[in-house]
Amino acid sequence: MATSPRTQKSWRINLLYLPAIILFAIFTVYPLINGANLSLTNWNGYSADRSFVGLDNYLRLFTDEVFRTSLINTFIYGFGSTLIQQILGLALAVALDRALRGRNVARAIIYLPVLVSPVVMGTMYYLLFNFNNGAFNDIVVALGGERIAWLGDSGSAIAIIVTVNSLQFVGVSMIIYLAGLQSIPGELYEASTLDGATGWKQFRAITVPMLQPAFATSIVLNLIGGLKLFDIIKVLTGGGPGYSTNSVSTLIGQTYFENQSAGYASAMGIALFFIIAVFTLLLNTALNRRRLDLS
């Protein structure tokens, strides 16, 4: 957005972001730099001993298959959930934008899981997928089948994690799209109806382009959530079977506390931070050039 010379503010208004910067400096940046220092050591996470190992921890990332699997999973969780949330969220928004009896109740129910902590949500689903007494296996048995170890296979466990995360936060996309739909002027539809366009055609010609800013907000929010996914994995599978459903975040937790390799875990954290930052920025720039010119 061009700024006219007359309103170009003096540098002094920058003082207004000083409090925020101080807060970040103390509570985020300083610990982050400390964490980055740890990534150059072989610290075990609690002892007073540690020695400097240079970039060893970072080099190790390149050959670590467990890290690679977790990184791939992180992207599956991030992009998989984001995709499902956009499709389902938009569909729900379109459906619930119509004059429908009980639509406020429906919106509230769909949004309900957002209000619950992911740890709790994960546990509730853990009950559903439980082998012996889980609600889903009760159905399977009632239909004459053998109980299924839902979380016993990496493929199905990953799919379940993506689904649970998507369902929990689909309410956020739905609300954003509902908001977007309500901001589209009705005249646009009336005009195009007069031109003979209907249904799907209108959706593509008017709704989708007009929702572009909503897409950007929703995708960025969902993607951040999916890429940082931690609690649901922890509760549903703990990263297993084997190492196969870990995200980088859960792997960091395991490496830090259980494997007692705080140095290596810090290196993973820094690497993840840069990988996600780069991806999100690229995506944000691509989606949203008009809206927030970051580059």
Partner: protein, 418 residues
């Protein structure tokens, strides 16, 4: 206007600067001790500790003891607090008083009760200088837990399972009788890892163990262990709900005779008996894969308590530990732990496990070996042991790949800890 902007910036920053200035005050004259027990709130040992602390407070006016139960993430909590130099005055060491916590704990070998320590604990709890760092409530002696009724019904005598093929024959018999031979879990941290930890001592020779201690990983015997587990998996010895079973599920299966064997410490028995008080449970030595004598596994018990070296009220804390070590109190705690007491002055009730104790432990016929991961693997390997064993049972990896993962972590952690 300039100044107003500055004022706004300053005002909104005030809370941030205040952080530097406030310090917590404490009451003078009274001592408040923080005791992180490492035990869960509903646990029998925890309840006993709370009541002992209460009676201690009555006779020691001016001392109050905060007996805090563990959270779900006790080990991580403790590590964060050690790293921040913010330790409680006393804490439970859950098997790690020597290898993990000794750096932060006050040596206790000068206490009056030190001479009464059960000698079985020496290798696990004492360093080369003879120092030890926690008051042991119980001495951990474990084998393979079994349901005696199930074994009897299938004419299996646990005392005559001497070799690994005896064990496998028994497992086959049980399987064909519709009983799950071995119950384990990939969900709960312990169970899968215990399989490897229990079997490994019988797969390595003394020479191999010695070179493991010196930092040279021996992949051949380790592969043998994981191959054995893979074979058992192929033979269908494990429970169908392996991927999802919780500790309660496993305790129930053992107590109700749905399964015959569980590779777990004896404290599972207390839990199992709540589901079926009439169950007859026991434990037997582990048969060795390489054909040497069967053995029991032992070390620091479930519960042991140390005092922070840096505690400002160290003397008060030590006095309370001495109080816990008094024979009557130690006996009460050991009974709550359902284990063999950590001090020879105490006595205990072993609940249903007395016959196993008499048969296998008191007879002194079987060697007591230390926990494989604690002694022969570098600190921090437990998670690797669990995850790699789990990947074998869940079919995510073959023994060769799993061993190479173990080898990699071994190399990096061994380097880190030296």
């Amino acid at each position: 206007m300039k100044s107003r902007l500055t004022i706004i910036a300053a005002l909104t920053s005030i809370p941030l600067f205040l952080t530097g200035c406030s310090t917590g005050g404490s009451d003078e004259g009274s001592i408040k001790l923080e005791f992180q027990t490492g035990r869960l709130a509903s646990d029998a040992i925890q309840e006993k500790l709370v009541s002992l602390a209460k009676s201690y407070e009555e006779t020691h006016k001016g001392v109050s003891i905060d007996v805090i139960p563990a959270t779900q993430t006790y080990e991580a909590d403790m590590k964060v607090r050690l790293a921040a130099n913010d330790m409680p005055d006393m804490w439970g060491t859950h098997g790690w008083s020597l290898l993990r916590y000794s750096e932060f704990l006050e040596p206790l070998n000068n206490r009056s009760w030190a001479k009464d320590m059960n000698p079985a604990l020496d290798t696990a709890m004492k360093n080369e200088k003879g120092e030890f760092f926690a008051l042991p409530v119980d001495t951990d002696v474990s084998g393979i837990l079994y349901n005696a009724d199930v074994l009897k019904a299938n004419s299996i005598d646990p005392t005559s399972i001497d070799t690994i093929s005896d064990f496998e024959a028994a497992a086959k018999t049980l399987k064909s009788a519709g009983i799950t031979p071995i119950t384990s879990s990939g969900k709960d941290n312990w169970f899968a890892g215990n399989l490897t930890d229990w079997l490994a001592p019988g797969a390595f020779t003394d020479t191999e163990l010695a070179s493991m201690s010196k930092g040279t990983f021996q992949s051949e015997p380790y592969t043998t262990v994981l191959q054995k587990i893979a074979d058992w998996k192929k033979d269908g010895f494990f429970n169908a709900d392996y991927s999802a079973a919780t500790t309660d599920d496993i305790a129930t299966a053992l107590a109700t005779g749905k399964t015959a064997f569980v590779f777990m410490q004896n404290n599972l028995v207390t839990n199992a008996l709540t589901f079926n008080p009439d169950a007859k449970l026991g434990y037997m030595p582990v048969p060795a894969i390489n054909g040497s004598s069967k053995y029991l596994i032992g070390g620091e018990g479930l519960a042991a308590f140390g005092v922070a070296k840096s505690s400002p009220d160290k003397d008060a804390a030590l006095d309370f530990i001495d109080f816990l070590a008094e024979p009557a109190n130690e006996s009460a705690l050991a009974t709550a732990a359902a284990g063999i007491p950590g001090l020879t002055t105490a006595t205990t009730d072993l609940a249903g496990l007395t016959s196993s104790y008499d048969e296998f432990v008191a007879s002194d016929n079987y060697p007591l070996v230390p926990y494989f991961d604690r002694v022969y693997l570098p600190n921090g390997m437990w998670n690797t042991v669990v995850s790699t064993t789990d990947s074998i049972i869940s079919g995510q990896a073959n023994p060769k790949d799993a061993v190479s993962q173990v080898q990699k972590d071994f190399a990096s952690l061994y380097g880190q800890n030296k």
